[in-house]
Amino acid sequence: MLAFLLRRLGLLLPTFFGVTLLTFALIRLIPGDPVEVMMGERHLDPQAHAEAMQRLGLDQPLHRQYLAYLGQLMRGDLGQSFRSGESVWAEFTTLFPATLELACAALLLAGVLGVLAGVIAALKRDSWFDRVLMGLSLTGYSMPIFWWGLMLQILVSVGLGWTPVSGRIDLLYDIEPHTGFMLVDSLLSEEDGAFLDALRHLILPAIVLGTIPLAVIARMTRSAMLEVLREDYIRTARAKGLSPARVVFVHGLRNALIPVLTVFGLQVGTLLSGAVLTETIFSWPGIGKWLIESIAARDYPVVQNGILLIAALVILVNFTVDLLYGLVNPRIRHAR
């Protein structure tokens, strides 16, 4: 297991450095004068321009600039936002729990419903239920989620009035941010109805964000389940006289979940892409909305290092999924 871990780690570090190279290059590829871009001001007088060049280290050769950037990152210095003047790290850590809460809710929804739907579809293969479910899942997979979000807003929030249109909680409540997770904080606050209100705000964005992962997980579970149900050990389990539920869930599903686990990991990227759109539609104060607004405002330190942080996150999650995968499937661990 240690060799496996080290091998994976050996792949992870170059990827991370590659990402730093990419975010370093990103800011320098922007057309126009880098000082004006970095300072967010136009037509500086020549002396101020030269000073800024020196201060920002832009008069150095590129490799020195890159090393300086790496040094900065090592010290945990991710720069300051042009707009707010706050450190990028502080902004990220304030907003990230909102995205994480939304993503977890979406993944929970997608995981539970997707696995359940996939198992039933596999057991009732080629029935009308299977066909409808697979048709629905392909539709979900093809969904432009920004449109899906708007449609749900019209129908559920505006039409039926069941859920609020946007935000994380009603302005009536003054919730102290302990954990950053609104569901937890609203429970801790002991204000009447705060938790339910937070839940009602969360449900639509979670459905929207969870739609594509749900479709992928349902299809994946179905095909993995079909594969597993053909195995000899399933026949043995049946022949032993185990109850059908035990055969399906204990012997079948446990093995079918291995490929589904990888899909779970792969969905992290989809979730973060989706979060950009979902947060924009529902005015959800997370990192997706933050990045899009920063791009619109040309707030380059936020864009550069926000992207770096998200990439680091994706790399870490995939690394963890890889390890889990190796843990549950020894064949992978020993393969070269």
């Binding site: 792949l11 170059p14 990827t15 590659g18 990402v19 190279l21 990419l22 990103l26 590829l29 922007i30 057309p31 048709g135 392909l138 539709t139 997979y141 093809s142 969904m143 432009p144 920004f146 449109w147 899906w148 708007l150 449609m151 807003q153 019209i154 505006v158 992928v216 299809r219 994946m220 179905r222 095909s223 079909l226 990227g269 989809t270 973060l272 892409s273 989706g274 950009v276 759109l277 924009t280 990045l291 899009i292 791009i295 619109a296 864009v303 992207i307 998200i310 990439a311 994706v314 790399i315 995939n318």
Partner: protein, 293 residues
């Protein structure tokens, strides 16, 4: 020798493909979209940018207050929605096609190189692809557009870059599988040079997964282009792009459902149709992958 009565590979492919009803439906829908795109100036009842000031937010013809002059109604500037959707088909298909080609060609080339040179050129190429995969697709596209600036060409470039790694990885994996086969050894022994080995011997045998991937990334390109348009970073108004049509209509969503519903439905149906075709292609070209995603 081939038996004279056995079907040609293309015929065999069509036999399997047409058994998939969903794929046939998808194909029919996409042919319709293609006809709309090709004949847009003749099919569209109006110029897509012409503003009818006397008919702002006019509802579709079958509703109260609708008029047959504008079968699907008009948008907030009095432009005919049907004409804009028809012209938008041009743009979406163009973006899809251009970005698939722009990703496919370098992707296949890099994948071939990585597969044929597993020790020297392969690892750096694959690590570079890992870096690109570490960034969520839409975010990478947004970042690229943020650098290059919004617009049609840059949308295509951004989407092509985002879909590049999939082609490289697929081609490399297929090449590594093929390289162990006897026919490659035979070709080598017969004195085939590297370019011939790459493009004539090996590449044709790797095409099945690449064709399937191309159909998947075609639909993803349409979705991503619409998402970029929706975020205001894609093709700029007044060009009738499906995603940006949605974005500009957002403020009228409560008064005029059709300005938001119809462009979105068009995107959904097109993407669904292409994915259905992709399913059919997979069943016909690569039976091993059947039932997978």
């Amino acid at each position: 020798m081939m038996n004279a009565s056995s079907p040609s590979p293309l015929g065999e492919f069509w036999q399997t493909f047409r058994r998939n009803k969903g794929a046939l439906g998808g194909l029919a829908f996409m042919l319709l979209v293609l006809v709309c795109a090709l004949c847009a100036p003749w099919l569209a009842p109006h110029d897509p940018s012409q503003q009818f000031r006397d008919a702002l937010l006019s509802p579709p013809a079958w509703l109260d207050g609708g008029q047959w002059r504008f079968p699907l109604g008009t948008d907030e500037l009095g432009r005919d929605l049907l004409s804009r959707l028809i012209h938008g088909a041009r743009l979406s298909l163009l973006i899809g096609l251009a970005s698939v080609l722009l990703a496919l060609l370098p992707g296949v080339l890099l994948g071939l190189i990585a597969g044929f040179s597993p020790r020297h050129l392969g690892p750096p190429i694959m690590r570079a692809m890992d870096v690109m995969l570490a960034l969520p697709a839409l975010l990478l596209a947004v970042a690229i557009v943020a650098i290059l600036g919004p617009g049609l060409a840059n949308t295509v470039i951004a989407i092509a870059i985002v879909s590049l790694p999939a082609y490289v990885r697929l081609t490399r994996a297929a090449v590594l599988g093929e390289l162990e086969r006897d026919y490659v050894t035979a070709a080598r022994l017969a004195g085939a040079r590297l370019p011939r080995l790459m493009f004539v011997s090996v590449l044709p045998n790797c095409l099945a997964p690449l064709i399937i991937q191309a159909s998947l990334s075609f639909s993803a390109a349409i979705l991503d282009a619409a998402a970029l348009g929706f975020l205001g970073l894609g093709v700029q108004p007044p060009t009738p792009e499906w995603g940006s049509m949605l974005a500009s209509a957002r403020d009228y969503i409560e008064r005029a459902w059709w300005v938001v519903t119809l462009p979105g439905l068009t995107i959904l149906l097109s993407v669904l149709a292409i994915n259905l075709i992709g399913d059919g292609l997979r069943d016909a070209l690569d039976p091993k992958l059947k039932n997978g995603l």
